[in-house]
């Protein structure tokens, strides 16, 4: 942050006030979500806004025991981790070539990939559905994983290419002299240096993949493969008459992303800023 001369003028107070109001506006819905999820349904009506009278976990227990929420959690985790793994591997492989082994057309190829940052993949949904049916991947987590990888690659290549470019060529030359092959240079030298950027790519992609609702809605049909957002949407009807359940469901869908964000916020914000500004 910038070190500026302190000016305790009127504007500072205005900014303080703005920040305070904004804090309330952000936190109130989240507070409401968590607090309501800890109340039994009857209490929500009598005491909709206050803190819960007791720490009631019944809503969560119901969701896990009766609604298979644990299974949906596992499905989401599988989708997220497999997708992230592939995004990172595939993007860093390609980024290595684009950054250090440029050839005729590699600049074009780079722009070709980066254009994906603003191409909404949803516009290809019908054909994706058709393709997944053809591959026999319809109604499997694999279909959603493939889509997530394709959506994540542009950002991965964008960030990682930039980062690899900054790695001094001398380092690679030295390794070549030591007899390292290119793949070995990649795995032994580039990857370890790349870790902070990989962290950014991972965290920035984690959130949209975890939250994706559109493709699971279109591609997944059976209960056994539902992801958390899809289950949340489809169970909304089942529990909509019980607000305690609804809020517990929303809380459970949000906790993983919020925790990940809070732990990794530095890499997250860094990745996003670079992604947004250089684009």
């Amino acid at each position: 942050m910038m070190k500026r001369r302190k000016r305790s003028t009127l504007s500072t107070y205005v900014y303080y006030l703005a920040m305070f109001v904004y804090f309330i506006v952000i936190m109130y819905p989240l507070y409401l979500m968590v607090v309501t999820s800890l109340k039994p349904n009857a209490e929500i009506f009598k005491n909709p806004l206050g803190p819960p009278r007791s720490f009631y976990l019944g809503n969560f227990i119901t969701l896990i025991s009766r609604a298979n929420f644990n299974l949906y959690f596992l499905n989401s985790l599988v989708v997220v981790f497999v997708s992230l793994f592939c995004i990172i591997i595939f993007s860093s492989l390609a980024a290595f070539i684009l950054a250090k082994h440029g050839f005729k057309g590699s600049t074009f190829l780079y722009s070709f990939f980066v254009a994906g940052l603003i191409i909404p993949i949803r516009l290809g949904t019908i054909s994706i559905l058709k393709m997944m049916i053809g591959f026999g991947l319809h109604d499997t987590l694999g279909s959603v994983i493939l889509v997530s990888i394709a959506t994540g690659i542009p950002f991965g290549i964008f960030i990682l290419t930039d980062f690899i470019r900054m790695i001094p060529d001398d380092l690679m030359h030295a390794a070549r002299i030591d007899g390292y092959s290119e793949p070995k240079i990649f795995s032994r030298i580039i990857i370890p240096l790349l870790l902070p950027a990989i962290a950014s790519v991972a965290v920035v992609n984690f959130i949209p993949i975890w939250n994706d609702f559109w493709f699971p809605l279109i591609l997944l049909k059976s209960q056994s493969v539902r992801t958390v957002p899809l289950a949340t949407a489809l169970l909304f009807g089942q529990f909509s008459t019980n607000y305690g359940h609804v809020f517990a469901m929303l809380t459970m869908a949000s906790v993983p992303v919020v925790i990940t964000y809070l732990i990794f916020s530095r890499w997250f914000l860094k990745g996003l800023t670079e992604g947004g500004l250089k684009g």
Binding site: L77, I133, L234, T241, T260, I263
Partner: protein, 424 residues
Amino acid sequence: MKLAKRVVVLSLVAVLAMGLVFAGGDKEKGKVRIVTTSWRTEDVERMNRINALYMEKHPNVIIDFQPTADEEYDANTTASLETGIGADIIYLRSYDEGLPYYEAGHLVDLTDIIPNLDKFPSAAVGAWSKDGVTYGLPSAGVTHGVYYNKAIFKKHGLTPPKTWAEFIKLNETLLAKGEVPIAQGALDDWTLYEVAFSGLGANFYGGEAARQALLAGKAKLTDPNFVKAFEAVYSLKKYLPRGYEALDYSAMLQMFASGQAAMFIGGSWEISTFEDMGADPANVGWFAPPVEKAGDRLQYCFHVDIGVGVNKNSKHLDEAIEYLKWVAGAEYAQALMNELPGFFSYTPADVKINDPLAAAMFEVIADSDPTVRTVWEKLSAQAPSGNELMGIALPGMMVDKYTPKEAAEFVQSQLETWYPPFRK
């Protein structure tokens, strides 16, 4: 390195959480799993209890009830069946909403499979048959009427109305006493049409006879009798709660269940919904749709709701058919009516209705001319479908976008763009 530390922390948290979440877990080996699907997500628990009866006698079979949210049900089921991943047992809505599954070749011909098919009510069989082939077991029908809060009625010395005039007077009294008369919103498109218009309006447009005339293209929704039905629904506007424009279905239910409104225009399937929401069953009363004039015969919307079909491509076709036969039988019928009062089984068997509300709803049938929802059959076969149009017109009417007459004209004119008998 700080990053590494954080990765470790996150992994630990994740593992811990998963450990907690997966503390339980069941194993089933060598069993046949029959997946059944429906649009009634709120019934999971009750359906599981019903199916447990079957599983007791068939220990090698697991009946897995996997409903999908109402809005997504038809789209999901179509896609699943087309791609060969459909459930074994498919719940079918009546007429044109269930028919496409059969026409696309996904359903087993049940004509010779269902025991006693000829003893089922023929109107119900007709809702899941085409050209003499029955593709859906007529499982259950539902009726429409008005729920009321007994305590609120008692407090103001009110009794259930018989005629529309009495109904309106009752609403006026409630309003004057500071109560919210009717928990009805105009946000979810289906409630006003399926329940309020088809349920309460039938007495005005003339029930089944009028509906048949409409289907034949001999009557129009713009005829005076239908417009009268639109007007009747519209006249209830002043008895709706503040903010009714934004009141969705679950908020409506919640409002009535928690005693914040005196009445609820509803379907018989909501008996168990209110119970699950914590309303005292002894405090919930019900009356039939008020007739237009004293002495009129009740035109009662007894809608064909649930048909059950078998997926032709089921991997366990024999077991699925075996299960369906059980669903067609007396044990299932009784269990259904116990667990889900308000769903009236079509099974020709001696079944007792133990729930007093359901019994009241059923009793009325004898003294009425039953009918089904107004534009459900045939008129909703194509886009823009009658169901969809009514779902636009009625909420629009309730927020004064259309007058009752304009609402009727809107639906009629849109149907005329494709419904063959109207185009002649």
